[in-house]
Symmetry: C2
Subunit: 299 residues, 2 copies
């Protein structure tokens, strides 16, 4: 996960509006796209041609104003592969207002997938990964996104194929967990033939939101949690009023769901120095990190 | 004139979409507002609260996508003074699509003044300055902007007031050019009583446009001309096809209208090094400068 923007609604102190990139086996997914994101992609050497899926959490400008420029730049760059865009239904109308006259002449297809904030849905699924919405608690309909790798098949130990003369047709079954029975009836147990695959990883993106226990069940055990922490602890009332979270609330969320690692971001323009926010969060959840722009978090 | 963005439609090489600030006696006027402009204002220490008038040339995204974020940030900053916005009629609808739900709750008034690209009109006028549209030749309706200072009254030489015992009621007439007649009938000629005011300055902004002789008459003798030069000379055909200009065309425009100084900008992403563009323009108009971001041009 690479952070492109870490500011709250008002950019300040060289922090930029929200955006990040999820790189899953060299496939790039963008989450939110605040103003200036296309310039941040260039600043941090992200190949924008590799992004085929963009997920927009909600229609506050600091989460999508950069989409207009990015979509236009793809046209100028003669992009040809389909771009999948996921976001609230009105986003498509907004895009049409700006790019409508050219939409049919664009060299690539922009395929829009409307999201809804009433029930969890799977937006993307292939053999490696699913992306689900997370229902968040914000002033307007807002969804987070849960990236979950799928459990891969077990890995065949190549030497055993020769050793036991296993026909290729049996291998998919063994990878799926089956034992192998020799002609003489001897059972070779699966754990002698295979090794465990890489454990599937998960990343939960929760911004913007107030403290939101209803989502805990869904995102339990996330390897990496991005949770907004717009304010310090002492601003809990302001946070609640604006449907944002404090450092403490972000950290308690991470603790409660048993996350491995927490990234906090979406910092208010109030704060020039972010260390106090980090210190507060660490008290409740030690493995907390600031969403410093340009930083990569590996899972 | 302070340059905030110098890139063509596709930002590249750390050049940003078009925007600049005209500072006339510490009053700030913004011309165009490409994506990221609010961050550029911060980068170059421009006080955004001092901007009360924003002029948008046309509705290609690289000239207005930054407006959405700026308008939103003014709300978050609790701006109270009216913001005057000048641009093509559809711009207001576009803004409403994004900020409509909040427009009436904003702490300041956003007053929209539609422009039209069929005949020259005066958009702004007070005792110091007028701003007129310039009709440009682009793919969609586009106007440039001509900032013209007014001729100020002549300056009274204070010592002469005492010397000739001139009553205060006579001073405005003298500043306007009248002579003063003493009680004994002696005529004191105006040039003994006053000095010439600062010569009024003018700045013409012409972007985006193809080579456009019909505007020459209107912008003749401009002290400072900003003219786009998206391409080098050898790309004249490409320029014409896209209704953009070459370095040579920008320079010939400056020469033809007898400008004092030329700024070229809106550079294509083709060009990493801009010096060749500058060299080409200088051949036809020596006092040419590159629109390097952050640079201030004094008139």
């Amino acid at each position: 996960v690479k952070i492109l923007g870490s500011s709250g609604a008002l950019p300040a102190y060289n922090r930029h509006p929200t955006s990040l990139i999820v790189n899953q086996n060299e496939r790039l997914f963008m989450v939110d796209c605040g103003e200036g994101t296309q310039m941040r992609l260039a600043d941090f050497d992200v190949k924008k041609g590799k992004i085929n899926h963009i997920f927009i959490s909600h229609l506050h400008g600091d989460h999508y104003f950069g989409l207009l420029g990015l979509v236009m730049s793809y046209t100028l760059l003669n992009r040809t592969s389909t771009l999948h865009l996921y976001g609230p239904p009105q986003l498509d109308d907004m895009l049409n207002m700006h790019i409508g006259p050219w939409r049919n002449e664009m060299p690539y297809k922009l395929e829009f997938h409307p999201t809804q904030a009433l029930k969890v849905e799977t937006l993307f699924e292939d053999d490696q990964l699913t992306v689900e919405t997370i229902l968040l608690d914000h002033r307007i309909p807002t969804t987070g996104f849960l990236f979950k790798e799928k459990l891969l098949p077990r890995k065949m130990i190549k030497e055993k194929i020769d050793l036991y003369n296993i026909p290729f047709i049996e291998i998919p079954k063994i990878k799926a967990g089956a034992d192998y029975i020799l002609e003489n009836g001897e059972v070779i147990y699966n754990n002698e033939l295979t090794t465990s695959p890489k454990a599937p990883k998960s990343f939960a993106y929760c911004s913007d939101t107030a403290f939101n226990p209803p989502m805990f069940q869904q995102i339990r055990d996330a390897d990496l949690l991005y949770h907004e922490a717009t304010f310090t602890e002492d601003q809990e009332e302001a946070a609640q009023k604006k449907y944002h979270s404090t450092t403490k609330q972000a950290a308690l969320t991470a603790k409660e769901i048993n996350a491995q690692k927490l990234i906090i971001g979406h910092f208010s323009a109030k704060y020039k120095d972010l260390n106090p926010l980090l210190q507060e969060a660490i008290e409740y959840f030690p493995n907390t990190h600031l969403a410093v722009e340009g930083t990569e978090f590996h899972v």
